[in-house]
């Protein structure tokens, strides 16, 4: 049974720090702070964003029933690591400057849950290094996925056409494959 509570300062700092280091997201106060941040703790910790009004109502009924979920799911904390969710990357995307733009073939491939090669990338952030994470968007700037680079920009440029250069961490095809 999930236990719901407000986030503590350590958890808050963990999320802030990891979003900053992994995705260069520095607008936490602007984007996330307007929400009440709730932790739903079970096997791991779900990070949920709800309005003040929802929080007040939650406090009224929580002794009678536990929610199954509520609000917007920012991500999960597992073993002291914050893992952002699909909804989370959609929420922060406008405030992350450097994203990877996929080609049409890349869009199709990533939504099937597959990893990407150089040919699937229309443009990549300037200073990308091996193991850097990046939000993947299409040419319409629609958020599709989160990926992790397996090579630096220089190495990618030298890579062969079908060599995997970007690992698919999560993508919105999940809603069809697993979320139905």
């Amino acid at each position: 049974m999930l236990q719901f509570r407000e986030i503590n300062p350590e958890e808050l700092n963990l999320i802030k720090d990891q979003l900053k280091s992994a995705l260069h997201f520095e607008e936490f106060d602007t984007v996330i702070n307007p929400f009440k941040i709730i932790i739903a703790e079970g096997e791991w910790k779900e990070v949920l964003l709800i309005s003040e009004e929802m929080h007040k109502t939650f406090l009224e009924f929580k002794e009678f029933r536990k929610p199954y979920f509520m609000g917007n799911h920012l991500g999960d904390i597992k073993k002291n690591n914050f893992k952002i969710s699909l909804e989370g990357i959609t929420l922060i995307s406008d405030y992350v400057k450097e994203k990877t733009v996929l080609s049409i073939s890349g869009e199709k491939k990533v939504l099937y849950g597959r990893d990407l090669s150089k040919d699937n990338l229309a443009s990549i952030p300037a200073r990308i290094q091996e193991n850097d994470k990046s939000i993947l968007i299409n040419k319409n700037e629609e958020v599709l996925a989160l990926g992790k680079y397996l090579l630096s920009r220089e190495q990618i440029e030298k890579s062969k056409g079908n060599q995997v250069v970007l690992k698919n961490i999560m993508d919105k095809g999940w809603y069809l494959r697993k979320g139905k």
Partner: protein, 316 residues
Amino acid sequence: MDIHELCSRFGYREYMIERYLKLFGEALIIEFLEGNEQKLITTIKVNTLRISREELYEKLTNKGFNLNPVPFIQDAFYVRHEPFSIGATTEYLLGYYYIQGAASMIPSLLLKPNSQDLVVDMCAAPGGKTIQLAQGMKNEGILFALDLSRERMKSLRSNLARCGVKNVIAIRMDATTLGDLKIKGISKILLDAPCSGSGLIPSDPTRKMSRGYEDIIFCSGTQLKLIGAAINALEPGGELVYSTCSIEPEENEYIIDAVLNQFGVKLIDLGLTIGEPGIVDAFGKSLAPDLKQARRFYPYLHKTEGFFVCKLKKVE
């Protein structure tokens, strides 16, 4: 008219043909049964939390989809031609629309929730109607979404996440115990009740044989408990939309007739220009005349799934 011949020709259980003959009469029964043989056109509802109707139309038609507006539903399209599955587009995955029967789009529109309302969707999964309610509320205020099934709750969560719904508190519970939540100030409730699903025969012909009369009676018992819980939880002056995808009077007009007698509620005119009036005399039982304000939808008449909907107001 030979009931056995109709059973054999259209593949129904005998009790169903007997009932439909009484409901529609000899003049319309063939038309009704033939209507159930026609495949319904897929309909989609634009998720205005994510995109405008015009933008979605442009994106999908550029991909080769042929869309026509559904005349009686704002922001909904018939999908006349799909070069590939409408459920497998990037736009679907981005939550720009959801796939839903046209008649099933009506209850949330009738409830007309806004961000000041405290709304409960009593049998919410898989979430199409919940998403519509959230759109009406502009993703603000509070929308409780209840459902009993663990598996269906997962679908609900996924669909709400895909469509960017943020104002939902979802609780896995038997909605007949809604009162246990002790929530004050519930102004609007949607009860799209679990039912025998006889309105879904065009999309699932197995229902012609898989449901017995006992299923109708079982469902009506559950429906009565659910609507009673809804009315008790609603604040005075609050509104309740009741719907099912069944065309059986025991699951629809009989239920509403019972609550009109038991509770301080009244039926409200729906203001719809489509749909047949509710039945006021079924299987020899006379029902409240106000039930004409309810609406019925049939595949043979409206090219939608079979559906029943009405709106009640709790008397102050």
